[in-house]
Symmetry: C2
Subunit: 437 residues, 2 copies
Amino acid sequence: MEKADILIYGCTILTMKNREIIKDGAIAIKNSEIVFVGKRASASGIHAEKKIHAKGKVAVPGLINCHTHVSMTLMRGIAEDKPLKIWLKNAIWPLEAKLTAEDIYAGALLGCLEMIKNGTTCFADMYFHEEAVAKAVKESGLRAVLAEGIVENENKALGEKMFKNSLFFAEKFMGYADGRITAMLGPHAAYSCSQELLIKIREEASQLGVGVHIHLAESAEMFKEFEKKYGCSEVEFLNQLGFFNAHVLAAHCINLSENDRQIMAENNVNAVYVPIANMKLGLGAAKIHELASLNVNVALGTDGPASNNTLDMFETMKVGALLQKLAYLIPEVLPACEVLKMATLNGAKALNLERNVGSLEVGKKADIILIDFSKPHLKPLQDIYASIVYSAHGSDVDTVMVDGKILMENRQVKTLNEQAVIEKAEKHAAQLLARKP
Amino acid sequence: MEKADILIYGCTILTMKNREIIKDGAIAIKNSEIVFVGKRASASGIHAEKKIHAKGKVAVPGLINCHTHVSMTLMRGIAEDKPLKIWLKNAIWPLEAKLTAEDIYAGALLGCLEMIKNGTTCFADMYFHEEAVAKAVKESGLRAVLAEGIVENENKALGEKMFKNSLFFAEKFMGYADGRITAMLGPHAAYSCSQELLIKIREEASQLGVGVHIHLAESAEMFKEFEKKYGCSEVEFLNQLGFFNAHVLAAHCINLSENDRQIMAENNVNAVYVPIANMKLGLGAAKIHELASLNVNVALGTDGPASNNTLDMFETMKVGALLQKLAYLIPEVLPACEVLKMATLNGAKALNLERNVGSLEVGKKADIILIDFSKPHLKPLQDIYASIVYSAHGSDVDTVMVDGKILMENRQVKTLNEQAVIEKAEKHAAQLLARKP
């Protein structure tokens, strides 16, 4: 008889390796890894310390949020229904200038709590005081790819300092928290860093073997300004610098030319589709179908909670699908199973984690969520992918596991004290608003 | 000391009468009506049989879903990611031809259960065997405005029969279930009913004193066909028939000309904005800002669960706001408090129920929901309207009351047996699919 730590049984399983649907399935986990996935009947020889009877539930890989600024939970609701420039300049930047590492930690804890409760098991973050985010991630039990942001804004000394911080962070936190945390470098955008700095970032990232997380082609307005200044698009500009020679995670990708898309495809740039924040800030719709047709890997992100206003990947999956159908006026575009793939396997690939997570396969890390399909809005069950993307909510997630460790069971979070996390975040949000610049 | 049946106290109250926010408020209910709304301190003299301590919760008027076909819960997930014509012709119509009153009843019960659980207290329905929907509504405790659908499709005898059924239904069910159910006539659309029939429907509706619920300007393709046939738009056509002389509830309103909008404004036509289904079927974005600027009353609807795939007005509020910001590329368009007004007061007006519901005011019926603001994704609370529209989910609704009767408390539904309703719907959905045409 084989031994496992945990055996989940009786559920339907979407492995996301392909379109396989395993009914009355079982998943066995040992030492943080998946050691069996298949029919329950074939798992009868597996003995486990802990058994989870999951009848009526659906097991899918934990959702992967590929672009956020998690500590912006503190600024949720601060500046509503505003354009990007005003939102940034009048509300967000003045607050960010006052943020302390303790604020970031409090905000990140709240964000991690929210993500556990909505079935997100891994996220890519780019912000400041990222060590505080790492600390929160470690405590929460989540997996994350963190990048200390670099914003030069024509201040060379500042750029240099932030670059060094970003590098220092990546060196120190690559493989942190039993390997659940990996790192990237985080240049904010092509328009907010100089050519020299972008080249240095690329070189150092490649040397360190880490990726680069950047905002790309987010705003048509900035796109025009950039074109005027450099005579080419952001993508062409970065390409000329050799910026795409190694792993890049590019968030937004709204305003792209055909040539831009070609460049991204040729260089295996990973695009993150951020539908809700893009709509909320009135920025437009990324044309995902064109990118995917060129085999660009497209993942999904929520963006920070100040422009969404949640960290809920179920919402993002639904709105992401809806927005593509609208953008093309073709309802066949981006069908449900493709969206779920974006939120799982494509996400893992975008974060350079596809060997470890993104699908439910033997040998991969056990990052698994169970969705409770007993709710009225999930009945009757006639198309499981459509049910997950168009009907399910984050609150339907019943159990969350990362690295084989249960972070939530029956909606009870095991790793964080909910009330304490909320109170801490409320305190820091209030202090941040009241703090003198 | 005044006596009330129920006293809700300690919550924040959004009355939706105006932008008033009452903190530490109280609402007293007697004989199905609101008899007090104000500060808790001013309610100390009110004695009530039942007291609901609602600290940390927010009271808003129950949400009003102004366009659905509730029994289509049975077809949830049946035909995904398909264009409207194919969706209708290959999947929906063949199933609808086989629907029995018992199926409709089972589907409606499931829809009512789902709506109670997501804070919808009133809905406008148009479908077939509407008596069965009325029965489900009565049992559920919800409020509804029901219309038996009329589809002529160039079959005069069929049109006549359905018209008579619609009329018969309206006469019989106007004021049913202690007045919680009112009726409308339900011509499917301008293109699916003849001129003669539309004129008769208008006349009979006016004579009966009921409104008319119709699909309007939903599909650009059909719009073109219609223009070719009649040399004018659907709106112009209906206007020429005198169809807008009395109360009309017009769902979709996507493809409108400036002249169409003017006609709607002049005739007080109520528009229902249906963002999710319109996106999902790739039909386009209704231009709500233009309609609202002309003082057209705009309400919100989910459409049937086969094209959404939920009956969740929280989702519809969020996606509705996002879609407008995208359609205009202006993030200020349709701010959060306007969306919540659409889902409450505007909805009541659209259903000719504004004297009874849509806001929390003394003398109105007690259709109230309490939203639990203790969840991580609703923290910190910095903009209450934005929190409700952009962060809250249907599952955050804790308590639902209609006509002063508690339908759900602490997420426990009082009027329906959840398990029995779900099993019945599953059984009927399976039978419907298996049934020979």
